[in-house]
Symmetry: C2
Subunit: 309 residues, 2 copies
């Protein structure tokens, strides 16, 4: 096998009360990538369509993630990568994670899978490090493993695959505004009230329980972020209107996707998710902001191979 | 049925990373209580053995918890309560919770069970409010429901029963020192670092996952408290030696039980739990402190009826 074409999906990180530790994988949106074995050593990004991103290997998230894998394998050959971006950079639904994870997944596949999906996470994190300055695993993990994932700690991540209730869907809206990760970071308080932290970890623990027991009501009661959303939501125009719209459409709960500006709502069933998607679109229609929407089942597979030769 | 004799067990609250939200129920230690229907209205504490505690209804945790239930039921008769304390007040293994929960469980039983075990929690919390000034549910919940419980929020508690892996045991040591709840509270910082809080909720979420999947290694990796234990452990003589002893005996992890001074270790299997119990006893033997130890399977039943007539 010399070449693989794959679909590397978008993802939602943080997930309300799961700030910095939780993430889940989306289905209808992602990057397509072609990865090809070549004799020339190293990683060569030969084409990027859909976004204006650097072709230079060390400046491209797929490039650095792929290089990290090649170095670990002491591999003397090389790979060409073509990237057809479906996810916009800065949208908050894991654009860099999709390309980073897709690159290492494809290369690993062409090398005969020396690594498990979980073992690929640290390589993909190299791409995240380039993109945001922090080697976080909360987007690359659900992309590589599918479904919901929990990352126990940051630097040497302990990634746990969580179950995805069968009727759980996500409604996602991406308001097309520029929101710099540095701005999203700067509104975070370094110190928080213990009392609020207790509420947050009680909610996250309850959310994890709800995922195991398929208790949709509990998932809804637990989807409350008392730490980050109160400050960060001010950066997203119409955030409260979006939450209200999702809520009135019957969503279980909602929150900021990653560091924003995208907003997600979790819903029981496709019908409610579609209603919530439309309701959020209608709510943001009141503002002079363009947007995209996605209605998605939780993607339990993650990256999908489209063809190989 | 006029009279019930029951065993109301001790419990471990907080459970390391689960500060203020998690608890589990112990098996070998608890209070015995006799609760008897009488015509004289109200709650009458007629006997307390084993501890010097007030007989006056409104000053006794079982009294106020029982009264709260009678008032909610508009019940015109009354109940006598005898308490044979097996748990020492101030030990950190839920002494007040056992008496409060036992009282409402017994009265409810004699009234023909108008309430479910979960519905009894708010009444039992009245006893906790008298004992500590805060109506917390993290001890009364595992006593009433058995096993591990999660309390989502404080004032109007949302209590979730969590599974207990079948081979999970607890080793508990109670160093007989006086540790005032007010002192245990005063060492807590009102504000904590967001970075530490993220570690804590990642660990708690992982612990909950480990309970569902019976992943003992994960339970062990997750049993880390980076928020409360670093300050509170200084109040418990020999704490580090106890942790080291439990760890070397093969325990999965350990921490402060409730607000201390008791220390618990969770273990896979009875053999390791017994070893950890002996190792902790040996470690505390180096200090001039008396102690009790308990080795316990996780008690999944909670309160047990011993006889009725």
């Amino acid at each position: 096998m010399q070449e693989v074409r794959l679909f590397s999906p978008a993802s939602v990180a943080n997930v309300s009360c799961g700030f910095d530790v939780l993430g889940f994988c989306l289905e209808p949106i992602g990057d397509e990538m072609v990865i090809r074995k070549v004799s020339k050593p190293g990683i060569h990004i030969t084409k990027i369509e859909g976004q204006n991103l650097p072709l230079e290997t060390k400046k491209n998230v797929a490039g650095v993630a792929g290089l990290a894998l090649l170095e670990a394998q002491n591999y003397s050959g090389g790979f060409e990568i073509e990237i057809y971006k479906g996810i916009k950079a800065g949208s908050g639904i894991g654009s860099s994670a999709a390309s980073s994870a897709g690159a290492v997944f494809g290369i690993n596949h062409l090398l005969g899978s020396p690594y498990s999906a979980k073992e690929l996470i640290p390589f993909a994190m190299k791409g995240e490090e380039l993109a945001s300055g922090a080697a976080h695993a909360d987007n690359v993990s659900p992309v590589l493993l599918g479904g919901f994932t929990l990352v126990r700690c940051g630097k040497k991540p302990d990634v746990i695959a969580l179950p995805s209730p069968s009727e759980l869907y996500a409604a996602v809206i991406h308001p097309k505004i520029e929101l710099k990760t540095s701005d999203s970071r700067s509104v975070l308080k370094q110190k928080i009230l213990l009392e609020k932290a207790i509420q947050q970890w009680g909610n996250l623990a309850a959310l994890v329980s709800g995922l195991y027991t398929e208790d949709y009501d509990l998932i809804g009661r637990a989807l409350i972020d008392v730490i980050v959303e109160p400050s960060r939501s001010a950066l997203i125009p119409g955030f409260n209107a979006l939450k209200k719209a999702a809520n009135e459409a019957g969503a279980l709960g909602s929150g900021i996707s990653g560091s924003g500006p995208s907003v997600f709502a979790l819903c029981k069933g496709k019908d409610i998710a579609e209603k919530a998607t439309h309701a959020m679109a209608k709510a943001l229609g009141e503002y002079a902001i363009e947007f995209d929407t996605y209605c998605s089942k939780i993607n339990t597979q993650g990256i999908k191979i489209l063809s190989e030769k």
